[in-house]
Symmetry: C2
Subunit: 450 residues, 2 copies
């Protein structure tokens, strides 16, 4: 039997995530995104389906784009803070993991480290942290930060931030510091608790970690950077990397390059699990699946896509008719050419021919549409390309995740591609099989005290 | 019938709160303070007893005091972040309020404002915020802040912080901005969402609030400052003030001065509810109650109290034998004299005679010990002195709160001193009876847009 793949449900505490506009669908519960019931039901569904974790994306600061378009269409804005919703979901489940995004821009690492430890205790070691650096200039202005336009500088910031967090989690309370000795009245051994002393570019931290050690100490570290600097960061720190490749072939290249980045940092290739981002749209027939996919596209505001595309290509795509052949665009602009090169790199030839095709390309790229059997085949193809698992995104809420649990998961399990029972232990043990704590080759390990 | 009093259960995500050392008690569940079950059970108990809210104290940064003493005795350290535990408790209850402490030192107001809005949504408007300024120099060093020794400066900081929060909560999303129009695909009216622009001493904030308005928008504001500056802050901002008076007579003075502070700021005296901090130790007989009180004292490490006392009086109290008469100490030190003046001000003459008495004074001051009937009498005496309610602290966990729910609450309800059913609506409506939003006289009201 093949090693089972990892399956996470990905969401955002917002009216929609990957499939913009789906809150508009009649009967959609997506607008309940600020109600606890909504999240607890999703967590229960995921656990019923033996899904590994809920993966909470986040957009700190208002998303980039024209003011009217972002607010009118709820493009990842407004949103809520995922960290404060996790405990309700954790209380209603036993095995499901909770991976949440926290930007280094969002709060001081000393404050964040306590939040993560509290949650790792509350979930009994089921916590993961998706480290992001908030490229948005709106986010930077919201918290009064200057000079974050520079991409490399943001990763330096992340390096300092994560180093402080590791020191607090791993280096402040030694193993054996906690005594809980009721008889003698000694809660902990003061000699085994250490003050962290950090004086760096952005932070000065003096003091011991505020919380006693949680099951995993350092939560499982996730990352999604695809730039050279981002990949080096992932190679050093990530235990899980989230990619969007669009095809098994493209994924194969990315997986190889991520594993190489780990090796370059003195880690093992298998120290990182690589997760492909996918929206699985399933129907009992291919026709039904295609109808759903088409319905999903119908909620997308084409102005939004044109804006996203214009930003990527650095031209005003709205000046072209939707039927304009791409060959014509490529003649006009160097920016659009580079976008198209990227597209063509991962798409079967001929599939993208006009501006209209391009508009739906990005969403289609992350999609698998089919019957449970064909979906399993496509997932197996990704697995054969070396992917360790998937961050599944939803097209409909409810609908997409329910279909996965009811129709796809049983078939995946039958084929040995998905676990039928949870493995015991913390999220790290579930993903890697051995040890609740970071491996010896991980930089957090070197922060251990004692 | 008298207006019912307010009763909150007060706790800290720590091994003990007011009664230090009680985690040592055989059978105590206090060491489960990082488990969700622990808090969910407490929330359910509180709601069964028609208690108004759980009030979470917090100690951001390691507590002041000798390293060995703080860690060895778990003096409010280590601890966990209460904000991330609330959703589990909220999911398990329907009416109970959740008041949590957040220091202005802890995180950026833009980040905090989203957390509070997310929680006010998740609790359906049951959220309160206890504003504190973290006097501890350890807290300041932990987050690399300079110059926080100055008390008045900390309140200026708090003024700036809370003004930003009000702008985000009240001034960013106008009433009517949220449309949720599925048909037309318009989530919100972009013209009714406003960017906040703040450039102050400590913060620059540019951007709209990240979340759509929650039921209360501004959570109910609590405060506990007793200095002149602290009282002026409370007069401006607080909707609830937490005091520790030690006697109805002392409470009467404090209540009068807080109501005057509100009037000085153009608010009504009844715009603030004043809550006395009390530990209620109840027994079926007076003897049983006294035995429990004595047992509670037995877990307190006298070194801890000596240290606290020394810090207050600015002399080394440990150089005196426990039997030393206080008159002798007063002859030695001006510092201890001022402490004793404070003590004598609120205690029946003759009750504090030796150093040993003094050691237990602070804890005793906050205590009512008796049968359900005598406890009700003492509570009624506070009510007659003008107190609006109580932040109840625990001596034993479990025990104190269970006793209150089972033996004291029914009697209080019979006497019309406590509500028998929750009033409908948000926490603000439950406490003040009218309107989920801040009153017209509150400074947050002036931040409204549109």
């Amino acid at each position: 039997m093949t090693k089972p793949l990892i399956f996470n449900f990905m969401a955002m505490v917002a009216p929609s995530h990957a499939a913009t506009g789906i809150w508009r669908r009649p009967g959609s519960t997506a607008l309940n995104y600020l109600q606890l019931d909504h999240w607890v039901e999703l967590a229960k569904l995921a656990e019923r389906g033996k899904v590994d974790a809920l993966f909470f994306a986040d957009q700190f600061g208002m998303a980039e784009g024209a003011w009217d378009l972002v607010i009118g269409n709820a493009l990842h804005y407004p949103n809520g803070d995922p960290s404060v919703l996790i405990s309700a979901m954790a209380y209603a489940t036993k095995e499901l993991g909770f991976i949440f995004t926290n930007s280094v821009m969002q709060q001081h690492p000393y404050t964040f480290a306590r939040i993560a430890t509290t949650l790792d205790h509350a979930t009994k070691g089921r916590l993961g942290w998706n480290v992001v650096t908030s490229p948005s200039s709106r986010a930077a202005k919201a918290v009064g930060v200057e000079g974050t336009a520079d991409h490399d500088d943001r990763y330096k910031w992340a390096e300092e931030y994560i180093a402080i967090a590791y020191s607090l989690w791993e280096g402040s309370w030694e193993d054996g510091a906690v005594l809980h000795d009721r008889e003698r009245g000694v809660f902990a051994d003061p000699a085994k608790v250490h003050a962290i002393s950090h004086a760096g570019t952005r932070y000065r931290v003096e003091g011991p970690h505020m919380s006693e050690p949680s099951p995993q100490r350092t939560p499982v570290i996730f990352q999604a950077g695809s730039s050279a600097v981002g990949q080096a960061f992932a190679g050093r720190h990530a235990e899980g990397v989230f990619i969007v490749s669009g095809s098994p072939e493209a994924a194969r290249k990315k997986v190889a390059s991520i594993r190489q980045a780990a090796v370059d940092q003195g880690r093992s290739p298998e120290d990182i699990v690589v997760l492909e981002g996918l929206t699985v749209i399933v129907g009992s027939t291919m026709e039904e699946a295609r109808r759903k996919a088409k319905e999903c596209e119908s909620y997308v505001n084409s102005e939004v896509v044109i804006q996203q595309l214009s930003a990527m290509a650095r031209i005003d795509v709205s000046q072209y008719a939707l039927s304009t052949p791409l060959s014509e665009l490529m003649a006009h602009s160097q920016g659009i050419r580079s976008v198209l090169d990227m597209v063509i790199d991962t798409m079967p030839p001929g599939e993208v021919a006009t501006v209209n095709d391009l508009l739906h390309y990005s969403a289609r790229k992350m999609r698998i549409v089919g019957t449970p059997a064909t979906v399993c085949d496509e997932i197996a193809a990704y697995a054969a390309a070396g992917v360790d698992g998937f961050n599944l995104m939803y097209a409909f809420m409810p609908g997409t995740f329910d279909d996965f649990v009811d129709y796809v998961a049983p078939l995946l399990q039958k084929r040995g591609l998905m676990r039928s029972e949870y493995s015991p232990g913390t999220l790290r043990e579930k993903l890697f099989g051995k040890g609740a704590r970071v491996r010896r080759s991980h930089p957090a390990f070197r922060c251990r005290a004692g």
